[in-house]
Symmetry: C2
Subunit: 236 residues, 2 copies
Amino acid sequence: MVEQHIASAFDRDLEAIQAQIMKMGGLVEAAIMDAARALETRDEELAQQVRQGDKAIDGLEELINEEAARVIAIRAPAAVDLRLVLSVMKISGNLERIGDYAKNIAKRTAVLAQGPNVSESAAAMRRMAREVELMLKDALDSYIQRDVELAQDVIARDRDVDQMYNALFREFLTFMMEDPRNITPCMHLHFIAKNVERMGDHVTSIAEQVVYLVTGDKPEDDRQKADTTSSVPQEV
Amino acid sequence: MVEQHIASAFDRDLEAIQAQIMKMGGLVEAAIMDAARALETRDEELAQQVRQGDKAIDGLEELINEEAARVIAIRAPAAVDLRLVLSVMKISGNLERIGDYAKNIAKRTAVLAQGPNVSESAAAMRRMAREVELMLKDALDSYIQRDVELAQDVIARDRDVDQMYNALFREFLTFMMEDPRNITPCMHLHFIAKNVERMGDHVTSIAEQVVYLVTGDKPEDDRQKADTTSSVPQEV
């Protein structure tokens, strides 16, 4: 009976933390889309909101880590339960980093908004951000429902994001070669694209956590990366 | 008496994990310097070694996390002791990411080695990498000795790294504007410089952990960033 009582107290604790994860996920999803929209519409005020909003995301990560540590200390969960609590800490870490990338995009947006419009790249970047946001939504759903199939679908979709990034990288190179005045804005745009691509990597990490939690299988260490720009030859 | 026994068992466990952290730190320090040397001397073989070596670093992170989880589960440490174990997991996470950046530099080195030498930037980058490596060495020493002063010194030195990065960023912009053929190699070099700068951020996180462990004070959320390139105006 005592054991029953302890188990359900642990479950209640875990559910409370998971609710905070979902709240954090909601804020991060909004930050991704707001950052992309601010970039496309050159909306400096919205960009400023994204930068301010990152504090709430960071605060939630801290809260979640403190709660998780408290649960570990009080309940001393073993094996599978411990794995669950540790996964919560990892996922909140991933969410915090995605929020940081959104903040970074918002910072660069303020600078880009002061110059001329370089290209239609902002729209392509919004589509890329939209894909990452949908992946994040599905990753968090797969986490709450312990749905391995959905998690694996998210992992597979990261290839699309990588391909969108590769296409943008080549586009920026072309713009820079066409006109030296494009060099500085394109450097910023390239960083923004890379940040969105990195967001996708962190969403994938969340999905991999789900696979690990449910199946006990560690995701492959060397999952194939589709960002091939590190091997783009010298002369394009 | 029983409590005494448990306490010293915890200490032994913690020391064993800290030894693994130091081993991991040694591998990461070597990876930083090897990656920078390979870039400067265009040594593709050394770059390949760095890429291969990252597996050992990743393996150590996994080992450390498993050990830490085992200690939490078996010893159920409270308060300060729990904070210590959690810090070990964070530090190993930072080290793993620094190793990833070194691997990424090595990947780009193989590509750059095939083209003409763009500039003397590789030497500047080696100096920057050397500074980060020294910071890492001191951060790990400050961790083992619980030396807050040394940790704060490391945090302060991150500004130098950020300034070195800013100088390189402007140099690359100039090269690209001078000659379009420099654009592609400079994009890679810029990524490499940014990776070294990010390594510095992760070293700083380790030092901040030390400050937190010893003083209980969370480092400031908005420590001043000296990477000002996100506010470089459109036309340089």
